[in-house]
């Protein structure tokens, strides 16, 4: 009798939980994710909601009109550390020929050398932002946007970032 009761509870729970999942799936399309891959020890796939839980810092950059704007996000270096990219003491020898290809979901692509991102080499902190003025980024910009301070043109501040890909430059 006890067993029957238990299985009834279990089946009912399963039924409602799967029903709930279906409803959720129907109401929202795929959540945007950031993928980190290539020459990494641990490929990552970070959802926007998980990204929001990582400690954030501020960074600012000029927009096309030259106005300084304040963003909040995660330093690229922290994301690459999580993925096990060769940084800090390991960034020497052939690793100095590694680059990061940043791809937006519309297909736009730019590169950075790893040296440009590592605080052992530079004081400039490039962040992957998910907030501007305390609000999520607008459509066509977010959920993730690269913020590259101190550049004269915002061309490398990729919008709608979907991939960070680490590769060796091979001649």
């Amino acid at each position: 009798m006890k067993n029957e009761l238990l299985s009834f509870v279990l089946i009912t729970t399963l039924f409602f939980s799967s029903f709930h999942n279906n409803v959720v799936a129907q109401n929202s399309s795929k959540e945007a994710v950031l993928k980190v891959e290539g020459e990494v020890l641990k490929p990552l796939s970070i959802s926007a909601s998980d990204f929001a839980k990582i400690p954030h810092v501020q960074a600012s950059m000029k927009n096309r009109e030259g106005k300084l704007q304040e963003y909040s996000g995660v330093p690229i270096i922290e994301i690459l550390k999580q993925a096990g990219v060769t940084l800090g003491k390991e960034l020497k020898g052939e690793n100095l020929t590694k680059y990061m290809l940043v791809r937006g979901s519309d297909g736009y692509e730019v590169v950075f050398s790893l040296v440009e991102l590592d605080p052992a080499f530079t004081n400039r902190i490039i962040i992957l932002a998910d907030m501007k003025d305390g609000k999520p980024l607008e459509n066509g910009v977010g959920p993730f946007r690269l913020v590259v301070p101190e550049e004269n043109r915002p061309a490398r501040s990729v919008l709608e970032v979907s991939h960070l890909i680490i590769r060796f430059a091979k001649d």
């Binding site: 399309s29 795929k30 945007a32 979901s105 519309d106 297909g107 736009y108 459509n139 066509g140």
Partner: protein, 370 residues
């Protein structure tokens, strides 16, 4: 004495058989003997895509060209790749939607083929990585070519010419679906268009008219009304001498698109209504325009970008807030400016490309020769 002579005969026979086998073995042609030299201008750059397992060879390209024009690949024996990709129209077909074996219209307008060597993700929505992958779609589509490849393989195997051509291209006479798509991809990589008046201008061999020059300047510039710089902002997406960038944008055709475009393939909401930024090379030949062929003329296309961009959540950032007038609501080009841009676009027509005998139907050549 007799026994010895038998041994000698047996040894002689053995040597002859071994020599015969050896000669037959060396008679098998080594693979990929004649690399096909893909020639293109330096200003196209070298970010080309050729898979390691499908190098471009003269034999592969010829076979691919035969197959590109081969109607035996369709279940009705009436449709080949060339039905929707006709050379005289820069390899498109002049229709909003093409029709395949059963006259059902395709979902999207057939794309012009030129300079595919630099393209990485094919179709209006970028769903196929590489030409080999792309070729599988129309072949396997029940309405386009009738999903007939497996039967076509058997039929081609029975022909006189194809087993020989496959052997020359791939080292063995066995025909497979995989080899068919590889050969077609090799041929398509050779479809390089780089001899338009714009190319000649880039090579200092052509002096554009005043109208063409004005159009070119408007095409390349972004408008900055505060500084009196007029522009149409086309180069934002169609810049570089290849006349496209590999981007997928919503260009403001609809607020709620019937065809959701790239979203269907990625499942991502921000891809709604996004389609490939198509190449503008030979654009004067490839009407009607857009993924659904809704615009019949270049004038209609210019009117769209100038006056009829429809705002939506996924509208390309490049198409928002662009105006030649301070606080202007649209791009604000004049009628003359629009026609100057069209003059420039006509500079992109490559008459050498559309008449190059290397890209024409090789079956017709056979028919004429015979």
């Amino acid at each position: 004495m007799n026994i010895e002579s038998h041994y000698r005969k047996i040894i002689l026979l053995f040597v002859l058989v071994a020599a015969g086998i050896f000669m037959a073995a060396i008679d098998i042609k080594p693979l990929y003997v004649d690399p096909y030299k893909l020639e293109y201008p330096d200003y196209f750059g070298n970010r080309i895509s050729i898979p390691e397992d499908n190098p471009t060879t003269k034999q592969g390209v010829y076979l691919g060209r035969m197959l590109f024009y081969e109607t035996k690949l369709s279940s009705s024996k009436t449709i080949s790749c060339a039905s929707c990709h006709q050379q005289k129209l820069a390899f498109t077909d002049g229709k909003a939607f093409s029709s395949g074996i059963d006259n059902m219209p395709t979902k999207r307008s057939s794309m012009s083929l030129a300079n595919l060597l630099w393209v990485r993700n094919f179709f209006w929505d970028g769903r196929a990585k590489g030409l080999e992958e792309q070729a599988k779609f129309p072949l396997n589509d029940p309405h386009e070519m009738g999903n007939y490849v497996n039967k076509a393989v058997k039929e081609l195997q029975k022909t006189k010419e194809y087993p020989i051509l496959f052997r020359e291209a791939f080292g063995s006479a066995e025909i497979t679906g995989d080899k068919i798509t590889k050969a077609i991809a090799q041929f398509e990589r050779t479809l390089i268009s780089a001899d338009s008046r714009y190319d000649k201008y880039l090579r200092n061999e052509y002096k554009p008219s005043e109208q063409e020059l004005k159009g070119m300047e408007l095409f390349m510039n972004s408008p900055i009304p505060e500084k009196n710089i007029r522009g149409a902002n086309c180069a934002q997406c169609h810049g570089t001498p290849k006349m496209y960038m590999e981007l997928f944008h919503n260009n403001g055709l609809d607020e709620e698109p019937k065809d959701i475009g790239r979203e269907e393939f990625t499942g991502a909401a921000n891809d709604k209504g996004r389609f490939r930024v198509a190449t503008l090379r030979n654009i004067a030949l490839t009407a009607p325009y857009m993924h659904d062929g809704r615009f019949k003329t270049l004038e209609e296309v210019l009117d769209h970008y100038n006056e009829h961009i429809i705002a939506s959540k996924t509208l390309s950032i490049s198409l928002r807030n662009n105006s030649n007038n301070i606080n202007g609501k649209n791009l604000g080009l004049t009628t003359d400016e629009k026609s100057n841009i069209i003059s420039f676009l006509k500079m992109l027509t490559d008459s050498t490309f559309i008449s190059n005998p290397k890209f024409s139907d090789p079956h017709l050549k056979h028919a004429i020769n015979n």
